[in-house]
């Protein structure tokens, strides 16, 4: 060793062995914590499987029928897609309260363009997707460029978009029959087919495919890694040379686009297009799915697969309680318990490194 200080001379005789730790004595609970730390989607998956088993035992074979299970999937398709969009935003340590109303206004625009203005359905869909993307980009501009807090920005755009939706549409519902006769393309994702007794819609398939594609993008592309890095520590991300503004801008824009896609799926599921759907708390349902799915509200942690499981958990609980004939408020209560439980587990898993 060249030029070592006096007190460092003894280092030559120091122990050269690489630190080896005894993993035998590690208690099971610690190992579980480590496993969950490296596999963030495991908790919601375990909860999902457990809730299916519990309801299966209490309700019996009726619940286990593939018809029931696929019906649950149909019911969660919209929230699942919105949850995927929400997940992107939450991963950057943001939140998007406007996501539900962006979906509704996109649906109204698609319907009006196709049915009222007589624009070809394909172009109407593109216009609707464009409107959703623009709303998302507005959020992105305010968050990334103006540096306003995402909660405030989307609280504002939630109200703005909702009001615009009501003013523009005059709260007129577009009837199912009109959509079916003039623009059947809008009903595309409602199309269902049977596999045995299981009934799947294109909307369900779209949800699953979307989540898988986003999972790939988040884990195997540079952009996806940047989304995590920006949510984890924006300052470090910036110093590492990530263009944090561009990442945030694109995340909110993409969330708007996905919300507009959810609009297309929702037209397929509902048949008619109702501007008054804007009062439904879709945004909160999407946040719930993401949080139960183990996406940390502090950003940078969680797997988008967890959001899919989170949406399924809510679907299973609500269907199960329904079949048991319980008061629907029990579903709301259980959802609350799940949210708090999920966040508590998230905090516990985080302590793994301390």
């Amino acid at each position: 060793m060249a030029g070592a200080q006096e007190f460092e001379k003894v280092l030559d005789q120091s122990d050269r062995n690489v630190a080896a730790f005894d993993h035998q004595g590690v208690p099971l609970i610690k190992r579980a914590q480590h496993f969950l730390h490296s596999t963030p989607a495991a908790v919601p998956l375990i909860v999902l499987v457990m809730s299916i088993i519990i309801f299966g035992i209490t309700i019996g074979g009726r619940f286990f029928s593939s018809y029931t299970l696929t019906l649950i999937l149909q019911q969660i398709a919209i929230v699942g897609i919105l949850g995927a969009a929400q997940t992107l935003v939450i991963l950057t340590a943001g939140i998007d309260l406007s996501i539900g109303v962006i979906m509704v206004i996109s649906a109204v625009v698609m319907g009006n363009c196709a049915v009222v203005y007589g624009i070809p359905a394909f172009i109407a869909v593109l216009i609707g997707l464009g409107v959703g993307t623009l709303c998302g980009l507005l959020n992105g501009f305010l968050v990334a460029v103006m540096k306003l807090p995402p909660f405030i920005v989307t609280l504002g755009t939630w109200n703005i978009v909702m009001a615009t939706n009501f003013i523009y549409s005059a709260n007129e519902t577009i009837r199912d029959a009109d959509v079916a006769s003039t623009a059947p393309l809008l009903h595309l994702f409602g199309a269902s087919f049977k596999v045995g007794t299981a009934v799947l819609t294109l909307g369900v398939i779209a949800m699953v495919l979307l989540v898988l594609v986003l999972w790939y993008v988040l884990n195997h592309t540079a952009w996806g890694r940047h989304v995590y890095a920006v949510g984890d520590d924006p300052e470090a991300a910036k110093l590492s040379g990530i263009q944090t503004r561009r990442v945030l801008f694109s995340v909110y824009g993409l969330a708007g686009l996905i919300a507009a896609f959810a609009a297309w799926v929702s037209i397929g599921r509902n048949g008619s297009i109702s501007p008054s759907a804007a009062v439904t708390d879709y945004n909160l349902q999407a946040i719930t799915a993401a949080v139960i799915g183990g996406i940390s509200l502090f950003g940078g942690r969680g797997s988008i697969l967890g959001t899919l499981f989170g949406a399924m958990i809510v679907g299973v609980v609500s269907m199960g309680l329904n079949m048991l004939g319980a008061d629907p408020q029990w579903k709301v209560l259980l959802t609350g318990v799940l949210i708090i439980g999920a966040v508590a587990i998230d905090q516990w898993i985080r302590k793994v490194s301390v």
């Binding site: 070592a4 690489v18 490296s38 995590y228």
Partner: protein
């Protein structure tokens, strides 16, 4: 220092104000090829602001920066990095939840060759992990079993090692190190100092910001003393004692007349 040699990186009259606080007050800076320049100064003297200005992390209000004689204006750390200036920040600028390999390649990821990379933008994880492992082994800093483990599960010294390895792997013209040994034990500090000398041997000049006087005096060729937002003087560690250097940077002693030009 020989006046016929062009500084590789120089700055003149840098000013940076944060509201009423003046962090840089007409600061000058010169780094010559192949040297290790230590920057020392009291807390709040503006060392960090100086380093951030030349590494693109902040944009100075006034003044000019020249890299190899060419005037440059970095608007982001990315631009400085593309120009060949690599920085190890004091807070390390690592993303805790990402893996070691992901962190080392953050912002300049490798993509798979062929269709997967070009059309599906797929990262080339095996290649990134291989290069990350090579770099870490080269530095001998690592006692890490798993290159894909999250950085937050590493000890402070190991994290420092990852950050230093990242800069050494990618720096092509200048490497800046902000307090690289502050979080390290005796053995790890020694390795980092050896690494610094190693990087110098490869011909890369290094800017070393440190409060550790023995380390500074051991490796530095010249010492830039920063005080009250500007360069007070530049001294030769072979001609000055540690206590004199400390006296200069704390204002206990006035700099000699000729030291500014050194």
């Amino acid at each position: 220092m020989n006046t016929s040699v062009q500084p590789i990186l120089s700055a003149r009259g840098l000013v940076k104000r944060y509201g009423r606080v003046t962090a840089l007050d007409n600061a000058d800076f010169d780094l010559y090829p192949g040297e290790i320049l230590a920057v020392i100064g009291d807390n709040g003297a503006g060392k960090s602001s100086l380093i951030k200005a030349i590494s693109g992390a902040v944009i100075p209000d006034e003044g000019e920066i020249k890299l190899e004689g060419q005037q440059v204006q970095f608007r982001s750390p990315m631009e400085a990095r593309e120009a060949g200036i690599e920085t190890v920040y004091q807070n390390l600028a690592l993303s805790p939840a990402l893996s070691i390999a992901d962190n080392m390649f953050l912002g300049r990821e490798l993509r798979k060759p062929g269709i997967m990379g070009q059309w599906f933008r797929m990262l080339d994880r095996p290649a990134m992990e291989k290069r990350a492992r090579e770099k870490l082994n080269e530095l001998g800093l690592m006692t890490i079993q798993n290159i894909s483990q999250a950085v937050e599960t590493l000890s402070g010294g190991q994290r420092q090692g990852v950050a230093v390895a990242r800069a050494a792997a990618f720096g092509s013209k200048v490497v800046i190190m902000d307090e690289p040994t502050a979080a390290l034990g005796v053995k790890e500090s020694r390795r980092v100092l050896e690494l610094i000398l190693d990087v110098k041997k490869r011909g890369l000049p290094i800017v070393l910001i440190s409060h550790n006087m023995p380390h500074v005096f051991e490796v530095a060729d010249r010492i830039h003393i920063h005080r009250l937002g500007r360069r007070l003087c530049v001294v030769d560690p072979k001609l000055i004692s540690m206590s004199d250097a400390v006296a200069l940077m704390t204002g206990a002693k006035k700099p000699p007349e000729d030291a500014l030009a050194a």
